[in-house]
Symmetry: C2
Subunit: 337 residues, 2 copies
């Protein structure tokens, strides 16, 4: 049974296991430093489909199927799929769930969705009656640009603080039993935090306060400090947001030590590839988790890390109506299995 | 601890309690047969705000606050808010969560969101470390029309099978302890089911197969039949979807007995009020749950009911791209406290 420590943090007594994971990404992601570590790199961001949305859905489905294959588990053995994406009405996840036939719990946490699904998946799995549970998240550069900003065909100029949505999907299979890649030690659900950022092209700044809020609550609840973790990993703060997070943590007397910080948003693309402030999207932390973080935990290179995916909660409508952009960040402490 | 019965159904051994509930609705809903049973009927669908989206957010927040007030619980005692709405990126729920400051798990299940949140809330509450948990869902006619179909200002003609999105929000507070309005006996998570309906103005037909799928799996898992429940309640199938559900259940040898069926979508509006096939929207089942179903359970008029909210999984994009419309339905068995 999970139990609560402090006001916000859940400890998983039986340490749910991440049995397997998979990541499918687009061509640009494949050219980045993690290119060889993904399960599939698409040669075509349409994935052979007629629209980017259909390509995104197929990619989400493919990540789920590969994750199940790696664990030797069939879809009808999985007791729930928890997942979401950035498309309006999370249609990529919903239509992938239709193909899979697994009971579907649709989530929306913007770019925090992978951590949201892992947190819920761990809770349901440890409860004993959803086991195994498939957790997944994905995003697509072309569908996100069209929906949140401008269709790619417009050739719109991007601002310096803009981030590049990852074309990618990642999935993890969680169980209360067995060996695997890593175990879920504890987790903290995020509050919606808003310090008044209103620039939809600077989502790192919008998300950093939420990241600091969740991180501080986790350290406070557990009585631990940043130096006790091999890595403190954020989802997609990018360069602007990462700098802000460091500032905020220093102000609170909890500086993140040199060399212990990592942002998935700064790990995906080749820095020469004109991506401005970094990568973003649900698929960013989801694919880096599978391609880099879980393998390092499995290999024993890292013993314990904090994985915190961050989301900027905005829509074109709220932005046009002058609303500021709150952020949310869900955190998991992962350790070697 | 919850345990699994059959392949899909969860039994809640300690029967999580719905401590309190609240519903806030718009003027048209206030003129309907349940008008006197809502906690607040707005005289203005803008709720004093500058846009319908802002009004929707304020309504969502108000339902949450009233629900907490009725239980005598403050927001900082609540360990998670599970909720969503129909706005792109569930912005009504997200921005209400910002005001409340409660850790936020964002959900998207289209019009099934209230049942999705109750199912997850019951699981988390029975797990012992999210207690109490606030579950909420809302929708708004004007924001939904603008987003899914046409802005109201266009004066567009509606088709006979069209449903009218409820302007309303409902919230329930769930705990593992104490007396309350009702208890959660068991539940079944929905699969995404698609029989090929592609008319975005006939969502009842799109959702009926998912409703039948979940209902049949529940009966099969529990070895019960429709006549053992005082009411079998669907979220918002409307007249077209309700007729189809009856047909599908009859075909499967599990007819729903005369007088035992209720659809929230056929309970909200005055039939003279030109609403075509019925009401819909996350706020439909959420507000009827609070205004009608929970009071009847509390009064002992009904002993045990099945509450199954249904969602049509579509976006304007998928619809324009020729995609068919799958449905999903999450079910809870509720009994008097």
């Amino acid at each position: 049974m999970p139990h609560r420590v402090g006001s916000y943090t859940i400890f998983f007594d039986s340490r749910p296991v991440i049995l397997s994971s998979a990541a499918v990404v687009g061509p640009k992601e494949g050219r980045g430093p993690l290119g060889n570590s993904f399960d599939l790199v698409l040669s075509d961001p349409l994935f052979g489909q007629d629209s980017y949305e259909q390509g995104e859905r197929k990619m989400f489905h493919e990540a789920c199927v590969r994750c199940l294959d790696k664990a030797g588990v069939s879809a009808d053995q999985v007791q729930a799929l928890l997942g979401g994406d950035l498309e309006n009405q999370i249609m990529a996840a919903s239509l992938a769930a239709r193909e899979l036939g697994i009971p579907f719990i649709g989530l929306y946490g913007a770019c925090s969705t992978m951590a949201e699904s892992l947190l819920l998946g761990s809770l349901l799995s440890e409860g004993g009656c959803f086991d195994p549970v498939l957790c997944a998240a994905g995003s697509h550069y072309a569908t996100a640009e069209r929906q949140y900003r401008f269709p790619l065909e417009y050739g719109n100029q991007r601002t310096p603080a803009a981030q590049w949505t990852v074309t990618g999907a990642g999935a993890c299979l969680i169980s209360s039993r067995g060996g695997g890649l890593a175990r879920v030690h504890s987790g903290t659900a995020g509050r919606v935090v808003d310090l008044g950022v209103s620039d939809a092209n600077n989502m790192g700044a919008a998300m950093a306060p939420a990241a600091a809020d969740t991180l501080l609550r986790y350290f406070y609840d557990t009585g631990t400090s940043p130096k006790e973790y091999d890595r403190i990993i954020t989802g997609d703060l990018g360069q602007v947001g990462a700098n802000l997070l460091h500032e905020l943590m220093e102000k609170e007397g909890m500086p993140i030590p040199e060399g212990r910080y990592m942002d998935c948003g700064l790990s995906v693309f080749d820095p020469q590839d004109d991506i401005h402030a970094g990568a973003s999207g649900c698929g960013c932390s989801a694919s880096v988790l599978s391609a880099l973080i879980l393998p390092k935990l499995r290999a024993g290179e890292w013993k314990r890390v904090l994985f915190m995916a961050t989301g900027a909660l905005l829509s074109p409508t709220t932005n046009q109506q002058g609303e500021t952009i709150p952020g949310v960040a869900h955190l998991l402490c992962l350790e070697g299995a």
